[in-house]
């Protein structure tokens, strides 16, 4: 057992590393040692005991191997083991663990299976673990998908939010370009190590990717965060297709929800982004007809027409599509938007006028009393939809006074203060700056791709030929200008 302990504690060595290459080779050999050990009976028996002596934050690879063995053999008491797993997932060394991707994946899968860890804990610790692995959160893994599903199914969305909020731009399965840097190199972009080859993720299909964003959308709907829900669903709706006719069922489903969420968020039918695939556009137009009809009634109809539209399509239809509560919410919000639109007409309006001018789409009738109107207004203010105050002066009727938004419509000079504007612009610039590494990684990857190099060589050849003939520099078109013309949206054409 002592011998085992020495082996396990052998990485990282006390003497440190000469270089990243040194780290790389040692870590690889240590991983192989662990793989060999894992099958020995001695190791299997003593794994539970050894856990105590191996520090999860320092000897992460060894600790992980022990945990997996302990889980498989069931040799440790479960509560103890669960605590150990949680501690490990929150404290492992992210650099070291890149070498035991497969082992980490199987631990994460076990945690997310919901068999032993309570879901709320599982969501929390896996979120932490994934963010420790990749703090930019820009790479989608198979664990993301499983995590999002678990979070939605068990209603543990809030702990998963730090991960769900991240913008995903890379996907596993990118044909790895030979990155010369070792796996442990700290400036390695996440997309280079969060790969199928390292075992940190399994391969994904387009269905998985679509599902992940749809589930994200549903999570935000659940939290009533319409802005984020709209964004997430839009990612599904605009999912790229290689041809002009394919569309996925998930996309249609997302589109219908997207339409409803758009109504809730902006009070208008959202417009399909121009990047939507043509096949999808067609499918949306035909399969989303009832939703479009509803949206049209919402936009330019009265409460009665909206209600009638809903009745004609029928609640059972929406309930079959799993959208009934969302539709109900849309009906509920109709009056709110009517009230909100009054702000374009009035600076102040009496509650009685609001009562008369707006109708509830649930009952297709005005609210019964001023009190109900006021209650609705209060709710809207609490939800942050409405900026205004209800005033009750003694000599005049109770009324709502709209407060100026900070948009261009304000009358009294308005606008933001210079400092506030500068702060916001700075924040925007900061967010863009954060994108820089992602852009660099993508650019490096594209720049190193076989297709591009081929193109470059051809280009240079042509350039040389041209120069040979004309003998001038005039007709040298810099290839960058031609790259500009190439539509990046369609990606690299295979077999270019």
């Amino acid at each position: 057992m002592d011998q085992l302990a020495t082996l396990l504690l052998g990485f990282p060595p006390a003497s440190g590393f000469a270089s990243f290459e040194d780290y790389h080779s040692q870590a690889k050999s240590h991983n192989q040692t662990l793989d060999k050990l894992a099958v020995t009976s001695n190791f299997r028996q003593s794994a539970a005991q050894l856990l105590k002596h191996v520090d999860p934050a320092v000897n992460s690879m060894s600790h992980l191997a022990l945990l997996n063995t302990a889980i498989n053999t069931g040799s440790a008491p479960l509560p103890d083991l669960l605590a150990k797993v949680s501690v490990f997932l929150c404290s492992f060394d992210p650099q070291q663990i890149r070498y035991s991707g497969k082992a980490l994946s199987s631990l994460l899968e076990w945690a997310l299976s919901g068999s032993s860890l309570p879901a709320s804990v599982a969501v929390d610790v896996v979120t932490t673990a994934l963010l420790r692995l990749d703090s930019t959160g820009s790479v989608l893994t198979s664990h993301h998908v499983a995590l999002a599903k678990l979070a939605l199914d068990t209603d543990n969305i809030t702990p998963a939010l730090p991960l769900l909020d991240k913008n995903i731009v890379s996907y596993p399965g990118i044909k790895s370009t030979q990155d010369s840097r070792p796996l442990c190199s700290p400036d390695l972009p996440p997309a280079a190590y969060m790969t199928i080859e390292t075992g940190l993720t399994k391969s994904l299909t387009s269905t998985d990717v679509l599902q992940y964003d749809l589930i994200r959308g549903l999570c935000y709907i659940q939290l009533k965060d319409w802005g984020k829900a709209l964004d997430a669903l839009e990612r599904v709706v605009t999912y790229p297709a290689r041809d002009n006719h394919s569309c996925s069922k998930i996309m249609v489903e997302a589109h219908n929800k997207w339409l409803l969420v758009g109504l809730l968020r902006t009070g208008k039918t959202p417009e399909l982004p121009p990047t939507t695939a043509p096949g999808a556009q067609k499918a949306f137009a035909t399969l989303g007809k009832p939703y479009h009809a509803l949206a049209k009634a919402f936009e330019d109809g009265s409460a009665a027409t909206l209600r009638a539209e809903f009745e004609t399509i029928g609640p059972s239809f929406f309930s079959e599509e799993n959208n009934l509560s969302l539709v109900h919410l849309v009906l509920q919000h109709f009056q709110r938007w009517q009230i909100l639109n009054l702000r374009h007409v009035y600076t102040a309006v009496s509650l009685e006028q609001i009562r008369q001018r707006t109708h509830s789409a649930i009952t297709a009738a005005p609210l019964a009393t001023e009190e109900e109107v006021e209650q609705l207004l209060r709710q809207m203010m609490e939800d942050g939809m409405l900026r205004g105050v209800v005033e009750r002066p003694a000599d005049r009727p109770a009324h709502l006074r709209f407060l100026d938004d900070d948009d261009a419509s304000s009358t009294d000079g308005g606008g933001l203060s210079e400092a506030e504007f500068a702060r916001r612009m700075q924040a925007a610039a900061e967010r863009l700056r954060e994108l820089a590494p992602l852009v660099r990684a993508t650019s490096d990857r594209l720049g190193g791709s076989r297709e591009y190099i081929k193109y470059l060589v051809e280009q240079q050849k042509r350039e040389l030929d041209g120069r040979g003939r004309a003998g001038t520099m005039d007709d040298v078109t810099p290839f960058m200008s031609q790259i500009e013309d190439e539509d990046l949206m369609t990606g690299v054409v295979p077999g270019y």
């Binding site: 731009v169 399965g173 790229p240 394919s246 799993n322 900070d406 948009d407 990606g491």
Partner: protein, 447 residues
């Protein structure tokens, strides 16, 4: 009101007809003298159907007019109405003898013309064929068969040999199309006339008919320009089968008021020396325009209001008067508010108030439609006009641009990522549009 009249107008109302209860300023006899041709009956008939004070008088005149012509259908129509409105009048009973004689002679005439035409066709003399068609067309028009008339007139086209004949065909077709209220056709036929510079008088005819067609199509601004370009030197007799000079002044002036701004009104209506001659025929329109230009909007509106019954009794204007008036009115309100940043509703009420209708609701509707840039404080009864604020607009635009840039950058990165990972959607082999996928439905958990 007479009980019969009451019943008559209930009937008109049920047929969605326009009813004008106030007496108009016009004198029926003088009014109708301005016109000739079939439009006389149309105008009298319309007045009879719409105006309460002039109903019986106009219908009687219409019957007399119909009897002077050959169109028995019109005669029946007019008598039918008078029978409801005033059964005791002698004209309210059919003149059976006249009817039968006229119908018989119409039939005989039709047959005669058709046979003649056949003969001409056999003889292959172009000029005769053209004239045969023309005679047939005229006859058909006079007995009220406008379809056949239009057909006969257009068959004249192949046999035209002089520009004069070309003009005649055009005018016939324009006239028939106007009677059939086919405004699009009118425009086409007028368009064809444009290329002939033979006869000055045709230009007046063209401008007037084109204006009427555009009015019918609710293109008020274009219609106004067409009327404003009419030449007063051309004798009214050349176009009085369509409209009188005072009609031209009214149409042109009203439509200009509805569609032009103050500078345009000044330059193209008041300073327009040609149109000024027309305006002399309708001094009140001139006054209304002057008031509008000099900023006395309520005076302008009250002049127009006092003439509303007259205009509602006009053949071409009737349908459009509510729209034209409300456009003028909302233009007045917009213009009125321009110099102010804040106006009390009370002042607005004084300037534009109408009994039984609150100015506040009207303003609210205008704002909602985007016609007016203002907001109402319905508690302190104030209207504040909205001034654009370039600074905050710029700020909003800048922030929006930054946000868009970020979104687009992310979206592109994502697409590149998807393409690189070969995850784009590919068509299913057999399922047509759908990539083969297992059903994926997420249970709805919301609320």
């Amino acid at each position: 009101m007479d009980q019969n009249l009451q019943a008559f107008f209930t009937m008109v109302e049920n047929q969605d007809g326009v009813i004008v209860r106030d007496p108009p300023k016009l004198d029926l006899e003088i009014y109708i003298q301005n016109y000739k041709g079939r439009t006389r009956f149309d105008r009298l008939f319309l007045i009879g159907r719409s105006s309460v004070p002039l109903c019986v008088e106009a219908l009687k005149a219409a019957i007399a007019e119909a009897k002077r012509g050959k169109d028995t259908h019109r005669y029946r129509e007019a008598v039918e109405l008078l029978r409801v409105a005033a059964p005791s009048e002698p004209e309210a009973t059919y003149d059976q003898a006249w009817l039968e004689a006229q119908e018989a002679s119409n039939k005989a005439e039709t047959n005669r013309l058709l046979t003649e035409l056949k003969g001409y066709k056999n003889n292959l003399i172009k000029e005769s064929i053209r004239m045969g068609h023309e005679d047939l067309g005229k006859h058909m028009e006079s007995i009220g068969d406008l379809n056949a008339a239009a057909e006969a007139y257009s068959k004249m086209r192949p046999d035209i040999s002089t520009p004069k004949q070309f003009l005649d065909v055009g005018k016939h077709l324009v006239r028939v199309s106007i009677q059939r209220q086919e405004w699009g056709m009118v425009a086409t036929h007028v368009g064809k006339l444009q290329y002939v510079e033979e006869d000055k008088t045709v230009e007046g005819y063209m401008k007037v008919s084109y204006g009427i067609a555009l009015l019918g199509q609710e293109k008020y601004k274009d219609a106004a320009s067409s009327f404003l370009a009419a030449d007063p030197a051309i004798p009214a007799s050349s176009y009085n089968e369509l409209a009188s000079p005072s009609d031209v002044a009214v149409y042109g002036g009203l439509l200009a008021l509805a569609s032009m701004d103050r500078d345009e009104l000044q330059s193209s209506v008041l300073d327009n020396s040609r149109f000024r001659t027309f305006l002399e025929q309708a001094p009140h329109i001139r006054r209304a325009v002057t008031q509008f230009v000099s900023g006395r909007y309520s005076a302008c509106i009250s002049i127009l209001e006092s003439y509303r019954p007259d205009y509602l009794l006009d053949l071409y204007l009737q349908k459009h008067i509510p729209a034209i008036y409300s456009q003028i009115r909302s233009k007045c309100i917009v213009q009125y508010l321009i110099p102010f940043s804040c106006v009390s509703l009370e002042t607005m009420e004084k300037a534009f108030g109408r009994p039984g209708q609150s100015i506040e609701d009207e303003l609210a509707d205008m704002i909602q439609l985007g016609a007016l840039q203002a907001r109402i404080d319905s508690i302190n009864k104030l209207v504040t006009t909205r001034t654009s604020n370039p600074r905050s607009q710029m700020q909003a635009a800048a922030l929006k641009a930054a946000e868009n840039y970020e979104r687009q950058a992310l979206d592109r990165l994502r697409r590149i990522g998807l393409a690189a990972a070969d995850l784009e959607l590919k068509g299913g082999k057999k399922m047509g549009g759908f990539a083969a996928q297992h059903d994926f439905m997420v249970e709805e958990t919301l609320g």
